[in-house]
Amino acid sequence: MLEKGKIIRHNQVGTDLYEIELAAGAIVREAQPGQFIHLRVGDAYDPLLRRPLSIYDVDAEKGTMEILYRVVGKGTKLLTQLTAGEELDLMGPLGAGFSIAEGINKVCLIGGGVGIAPLVFLARRLRSKNVELCFLQGTRTRAQIVAEQRLQAWSVDHYIATQDGSCGYHGMVTDLLTDENIMQGVQFIYTCGPEPMMKAVQAWACQHHIQGELSLEEYMACGIGACLGCARKLHSQDEFYVKICKDGPVFGLHEVELYEGRTGS
């Protein structure tokens, strides 16, 4: 769907982190957790391509959605300049989102950095189905922690790990997986964040025979499976490539070969 989303609110929520709330009724009606929107920043040809951003949260009644983004390059830098009242050109909701398995009572969500974005919308949905959940959020430092209030409002067990120890557990968020008090009873895992982090989650889940899902990233042009640009092999020995934008971004946790460094090729 193509929609002009009017900016209702745009504010900084952490170091290099911003939230935008958008009126986008048609997209909101269809949006599923894990899906993304593909948005155009400005009218000029630099930057040229749309930018994919996860749907961070929705308010179905108000017909609004939110995105949470981190400033990394020219597109996101330009984005920070937009103010309430302006419109963003959106395509969405795109991609295959998280599946919500029936009969699961407790799940664990693990997000690293801005990777928590799709997990927040997922948390809302899971809580609405009364699934119990623990939400592990890892950041470099305290000023990058977001979504605390909404997670609290939904009675989500929210655990924080910071690499500099400025808040919560001092260390990698994946260390929390070994904490039995947290993980007790977890039947399914959802994760999104840097690949090395997800790789640690995958290893832990494999060892504990727990299923799950993760969300991947790749450079995108079309966002809908037409350009074949966002290709990736799920396993390095595969012959064919999946398309992150269409076959994903969400894949089975044990379906994907993850990498420590640069996305393998």
Partner: protein
């Protein structure tokens, strides 16, 4: 817009391909059409040039396959496609049933492969024409592209013309010293029209990783960045050949499309622009129609090549 003037006739004949309007979507940028159906009425597009097809399935290149550049992008998809049989069995019937004007795009590593592909498409219902992607490495001639040598271009076009009754459009590579010589060779071999241009060969380097961004090292540059080069080539070729030109490269708006028409293009193709605005092709059709009404132009023929001195 006042309706002082009758609705203009947008139809064009591109070397035997009858198009309801002069705007095509370029190969590799619109998949097999279905991907864009949520956004646009694909049957209303002048012609849908499908993703490049090879004799057998190709997995394509390793990732990363694309990267943005200033006002452009590089791609090294590596001709990922399911092969001609799957195209004919699974994709074409759907497009045909929808009444889409389909132009097939074929790519081979040898003249024999081009011939076999053309023969395979012959007699298939729902194909309006064949675009020959001659920017692939010619394995028989040590990897130099077919599209960079006039003699090879002549041979490929001639061979394909012998295998099919469909209109044939060689797609010219801009990575050449003398585009007119290539165009002339294609015309002499019997090409019905020319498609121009394909991407410029470029690359990007990640300073952080100290290596090329694309796994394939080199990629094809497309988008507004290349428009001045594409336009220049259409302008040059239009003066030297008699067959119609499908012009494109960086078209992002109606004005861009009109520039190509004024440089001599009979129809235009939209590539990278589709990614930015999924409805761009039809917006441009509308824009051209409005322009013609405003300027009392009955048929595009009236302004085709009008900028040529």
């Amino acid at each position: 817009m006042t309706q002082a003037y009758p609705s203009p006739d947008l139809s064009v004949n591109l070397g035997g391909i009858q198009m309801a309007n002069p705007v095509a979507v370029a190969s590799g940028t619109f998949g097999y059409g279905q991907e864009y159906e949520k956004f646009v009425d694909i049957a209303a597009i002048g012609a849908l040039i499908v993703k490049g097809t090879t004799l057998t399935a190709r997995p394509g290149n390793p990732n990363p396959r694309i990267v943005e550049t200033p006002a452009g992008m590089l791609n090294a998809i590596g001709l990922e496609n399911p092969g001609v049989d799957v195209f004919l069995d699974e994709y074409l019937p759907y497009l045909h049933a929808k009444n889409v004007t389909v132009i097939a795009n074929i790519a081979g590593n040898s003249i024999e492969e081009y011939a076999a592909l053309a023969a395979r498409l012959e007699g298939q219902e729902g194909i309006a024409g064949i675009e020959l992607n001659i920017s692939c490495p010619n394995v028989k001639q040590g990897g130099l592209q077919f599209g960079t040598d006039p003699d090879t271009v002549y041979q490929v076009v001639k061979t394909v013309k012998g295998e099919t009754g469909l209109p044939v459009l060689p797609k010219l590579s801009p990575n050449v010293t003398d585009i007119v010589a290539i165009a002339r060779a294609a015309e002499a071999a019997g090409a019905d029209a020319l498609s121009m241009i394909n991407t410029l060969m470029g690359m990007a380097i990640s300073v952080q990783e100290r290596q090329p961004v694309l796994a394939n090292v080199f990629g094809g540059l497309s988008g507004p960045a290349i428009k001045p080069v594409a336009l220049r080539m259409v302008y040059q070729v239009y003066q030297e050949v008699g067959i119609p030109i499908l012009g494109g490269g960086g078209i992002m708006c109606c004005e861009d499309a009109l520039e190509f028409i004024m440089a001599g293009a009979t129809a235009v193709s939209i590539g990278t622009g589709n990614f930015v605005h999924p409805r761009l092709a039809l917006d441009i059709v509308q824009g051209i129609s409005d322009y013609m009404q405003a300027h009392e132009i009955e048929h595009l023929q009236a302004i085709k090549g009008c900028a040529v001195r």
